[in-house]
């Protein structure tokens, strides 16, 4: 080790701050993408705000309302909390994800007059909590584990340098 141990200790801290920053940037980008492309509003919010333009909404397919056809399917979407229901028209080939009693995220346009939602894309619910949990459980201990090992090496080298070897006093037997 050419650098003094204290300097290498500082180098390790700097390195790990850099790692943390890069990870933070990646996660920020991921959150940004999530908000833009994945996150959905609940059905109640849709009915209350009646937003214009493209919107993503989360709801459950009501049992017994699903009608599949060649080029389009219709079904009713409900929220679990209140008994609000809207009818949905999905244009496109029948989607495997559309099944009765399944939670879905629908991207499309809402027509408040007819209480009808025209869906263009359908996706299963994001379950983003599981993803976040998995990544945190994988990466946080990893960072801690690695950081600790690197730090330990420096600390051990310091201790080894400072440790005075134990020298036994010469016993009377040993004099010749």
């Amino acid at each position: 080790m050419k650098l003094g141990e204290r300097q290498s200790l500082r180098a390790i801290y700097i390195r790990w701050i850099a790692v943390a920053m890069i990870l933070a940037i990646i996660f920020a980008l991921a959150i940004f993408r999530y908000n833009r492309e994945v996150s959905a509003i609940p059905l109640e919010a849709l009915l209350q705000n009646k937003p214009d333009g493209m919107v993503r909404v989360l709801g459950r397919v009501v049992a017994g309302t699903l009608m599949r056809k060649e080029s389009a399917s219709t079904f009713n979407l409900s929220s679990d909390a209140k008994n609000t229901e809207i009818s949905v028209l999905y244009i496109g080939k029948p989607d495997d994800n559309v099944r009765e009693l399944k939670l879905l995220v629908l991207a499309g346009f809402f027509d408040p007059e007819k209480m009808e939602f025209t869906a263009q894309r359908i996706a299963p619910i994001p379950n983003i909590g599981f993803v976040v949990a998995a990544y945190l459980i994988a990466l946080l201990p990893l960072i801690f584990f690695l950081f600790n090992m690197e730090r330990n090496i420096i600390l051990l080298s310091i201790l080894i340098k400072e440790e005075k070897a134990y020298e036994p006093e010469s016993s009377p037997n040993e004099q010749e």
Binding site: F27, Y34, F130, V131, Y135, N152, A165, P168
Partner: protein
């Protein structure tokens, strides 16, 4: 015997390996979390794959290292290899438990169960138990040479035993629980594959980096112990 100069070179290279692994992992995470499109059936949840699969592979990699190192130790009785084995076991425990936990988290939303008695899961759980037993055995044996030998024997027996565990559980399962859910991996679209490849290379490099670092750490720990106990000859100080 692994010469001191080779060891020095390896430790010097460890920085480069660490840097490369960091690079690959950052790119993999970026592609996996930001760029890759969501899976058609699983939605966002499939992104757990990018930590789960590489970590599971990493745990196997460290166990293979442990096995080969143990064989080498019994052959040559080289203490630095024993340190490598010890390091591999510690790293293996980390990766195995993380792989099990992330797998469990992935299983809940996709199969609606935290745990299933699938041969792969059971083998990983047994692997974790073997590695923990290995580390515990090491802490309890007083004599360093004995510790190294006993641990090596345990690692080898465990490595031989693990395939039998896998097959016996598979037989047992086909009898009792007909496969209701497929535990095969998701069919992967090309856009999803690239981040996985990056993560795989990154974690493999990471395992090598961690092995080098941890071996060095255990070596220094032994050196310190020897110095504190007055068990250090003039030449080696």
């Amino acid at each position: 015997m692994i010469s001191a100069s080779l060891r020095g070179k390896l430790w010097k290279w460890s920085g480069v390996i660490g840097l490369l692994s960091g690079l690959f992992i950052f790119i993999g995470l970026f592609l996996g979390l930001v760029v890759a499109p969501p899976d058609y059936y699983q939605g966002e949840v499939f992104r757990i794959m990018y930590v789960h699969v590489p970590f599971a592979k990493a745990s196997l990699l460290s166990y293979i290292t442990l096995f080969l190192g143990s064989c080498f130790y019994l052959w040559k009785k080289d203490f630095i290899v024993d340190n490598l084995c010890h390091a591999a076991a510690g790293i293996g425990v980390f990766f195995t438990s993380v792989a099990l936990i992330t797998g469990s988290i992935w299983a809940k939303p996709t199969w609606n169960t935290w745990w299933t008695w699938d041969p792969r899961l059971v083998s990983f759980a047994i692997l974790l138990l073997i590695l923990i037993g290995y580390l515990m055995l090491r802490t309890f044996v007083d004599d360093k040479r004995k510790e190294a030998t006993y641990a090596a024997v345990l690692a080898i027996i465990g490595f031989v035993d693990l395939p039998i565990v896998y097959f016996s559980v598979e037989w047992w399962r086909t009898l009792h629980q007909p496969m209701s859910i497929s535990t095969r991996g998701v069919s992967i679209a090309p856009g999803m594959l690239t981040p996985l490849i990056f993560m795989m290379i990154g974690t493999s490099l990471l395992v090598s980096y961690m092995l080098l670092i941890r071996t060095q750490m255990l070596y220094l720990r032994h050196l310190l112990e020897a110095k504190q106990g007055g068990l250090l000859s003039e030449e080696s100080s």
